[in-house]
């Protein structure tokens, strides 16, 4: 019985892993094997494709831009979601239910539909061709889900904890910072990592709002490798490794908090 259970667990898991990891393996094979090789293992190893994308195609600059946009979006989304989520969880105000429904509705609007209106707004604000436009657009698109997650999480923290802090002489802000914020770590990690990864992977905004080669981000750089008359699979795979690495590292560090944060935020308070 015990053996049968193991079999039932590990075989499907193994198959799923195989299905998931084979594309990654092929990406590594193409990234590390020499041009013209048809070997199914990346041997002899070459770094020529990485040199091509990093130095020749400007991925060093794209990477820096993506990192800046990702970090700024992370900070902006987390701070605003924290403040807004607290208000939604702790205060009763007129139109709160309608506000929540409105936020949910924004999730049904594809980003592509908003491109021209956003473009005109950013142009009026002289923000086109600036990385600020990406940060603002990303933050705005990430906020609804982040607000819902954070407010759900705060609702699960007993209000009495804060009230006890007030009785001890804390102001509302001090009580929040000293008592609530430390308990929100899983939620902050979940929201921050989602904001970072989403903005790291976003292609459309970076392509549409930026008109300067030195300000493009990694996903735009990857798309250069797919032309009608030119496909460099080695460079494409090397670019894919560069693009995937930060996301993999972020997930490796935060996955413990992520599951905790998502499940806690999903429970109705």
């Amino acid at each position: 019985m015990r053996g049968a259970r193991r079999w039932q667990i590990y075989v499907p898991l193994g198959l799923y892993l195989l299905f998931t990891l084979v594309p990654f393996y092929w990406m590594l094979v193409f990234a590390f094997r020499p041009r013209g090789s048809t070997s199914i293992v990346p041997w002899p190893i070459t770094f020529e494709h990485f040199d091509t994308v990093w130095n020749g195609m400007g991925f060093a600059v794209f990477f820096q831009n993506s990192l800046l946009v990702g970090l700024a979006s992370l900070v902006a989304t987390t701070v605003v979601a924290l403040a807004g989520g607290y208000a939604l969880a702790r205060y009763a105000f007129r139109g709160k239910a309608a506000f929540m429904v409105g936020m949910l509705c924004t999730q049904f609007i594809p980003g592509a539909l908003m491109i021209i209106p956003l473009f005109e707004i950013f142009r009026t604000l002289s923000l086109t061709n600036s990385l600020w436009s990406l940060v603002i657009a990303e933050t705005v698109f990430q906020l609804p889900l982040s607000l819902i997650l954070i407010s759900g999480f705060i609702r699960n923290i007993p209000y009495e904890l804060e009230q006890a802090a007030w009785v001890d002489g804390c102001s509302r802000l001090r009580g929040f910072l000293a008592v609530v914020l430390p308990l929100l770590r899983p939620a902050l990690v979940a929201v921050g990592s989602f904001a970072f990864i989403h903005s790291w992977n976003n292609f459309l905004f970076a392509l549409m709002f930026i008109n300067d080669q030195e300000k493009f981000t990694v996903p735009v750089g990857l798309a250069y490798n797919l032309g009608e008359n030119s496909v460099d699979f080695g460079a494409l795979a090397a670019g894919g490794v560069v693009a995937a690495l930060p996301v993999v590292i972020v997930f490796a560090f935060i996955q413990r908090y992520l599951v905790q944060g998502l499940s806690a935020g999903a429970v109705k308070g």
Binding site: T38, L68, F119, Y224, N229, S230
Partner: protein, 431 residues
Amino acid sequence: MRRRVVPAAFLAVAALAALAGCGSDAGSGGKTEITFWDTNAGPSRTPIWQHAIAEFERANPTIKVKYVGIPIAQAPQKLDTAIAGGGVPDVADVSTSGLANLVAQKALDPVDDRISKNPALTGKFNEALLTTVRNVVPDGKTYIVPLSTNAGAFWYRKDWFKEAGLEPPKTWSEFFTVVDKLTKPSENRFGFTIRGGAGSIAQMLEVVYGQSGITEFFDAAGKATINDPRNVTALEKYAGLYKKNTPEADLQNDYVKMVAQFDTAGSIAVMQHNLGSYQDHIKALGPDKVASFSVPKSDSGTQAVLSNPVGGVGVFSAGENKEAAFKLAEFFASKDIDGYIADKTGVIPANTDVQGTQAAHIVEAQRVLNDPATKVVQMPYHLPEFNEITKTWAEPLFQKVLLGELTAKDFLDQLAAKLTEAQAGYKERHG
């Protein structure tokens, strides 16, 4: 707690400060600055344009050109957004396949006057290419300075042909025989790779009209000729290659997947595409293993080829530095630079003064194009619906033909009806 919050706040401020720095434009030192959009950017094309721009800046020290590379798949959307929302470039490379859309939005300035006043360019362009450029738009003006055109090419494995003692086919009958002989599924070798996914229709039309020898896309009454019985027979033969002489996965083949099979996996003997993929094949396989042959003749002896899109550079009417923009467009079309661009990208130059050392595949394509016996079937790039019909509507149905779920006749009848209706609408609008 404070110790954790404070460094995070500093990090945020530092990141935002860095962003602010990135948001400002660098000064151009009193020079006129213009922007050039390369709408098919990539590792092989970007350095070519950048070299041409460097040459221009050397010849025109008061003008600075900012190069912006746009991936080809998103270029139409990027251009449309820029036209609708503002922020168009001064100059961009534009193909006749997308020209009608830009002209309909009044985005480009005509270049006829500039060409006629420039002795270095007047009378220097291939007339057939100029005609293609003018036919695309209703007012018959020239909206791009033509740089090059492409031609259909069949890339083949020289080494496999040599092994099998085969010669590149001259007629379509020979083509089908050769492809069949080179198919050895047990060795994972296929005689052909058929384009069943994105971009399938242009290649299908090339094979169909090439076999039938029909030379007009519309007859005198404006009816599409695509469902002529000779074309139906030709499509049946072409679709018959699927799974017999091609891999089954070809149903989803786009350019990337075709190249992956031909260049990287090395499992295909003949791949239909155009001259533009030369660099990819040479880089992957080397000149000893790959060469091209032109579209074979019909069995009746007619050489019918499709008109290929003409590539060129357009000057945007909303640009602020038109004089500098026109100068750049004219510079790209000049003998030396056009020759350089055509040579490096592996296409046929529009400037007839361009001579010199051209690769064998270009010489062969030029021979076919300049042969008086060659019939050029003019593709209806002037129809605004053409892209939608051939991509959104026709591509899934073509897959059904390959799968045997739709007959070639039914498919071509429906396609002909769509094209005839679009042509009638165009005639009604523009006379």
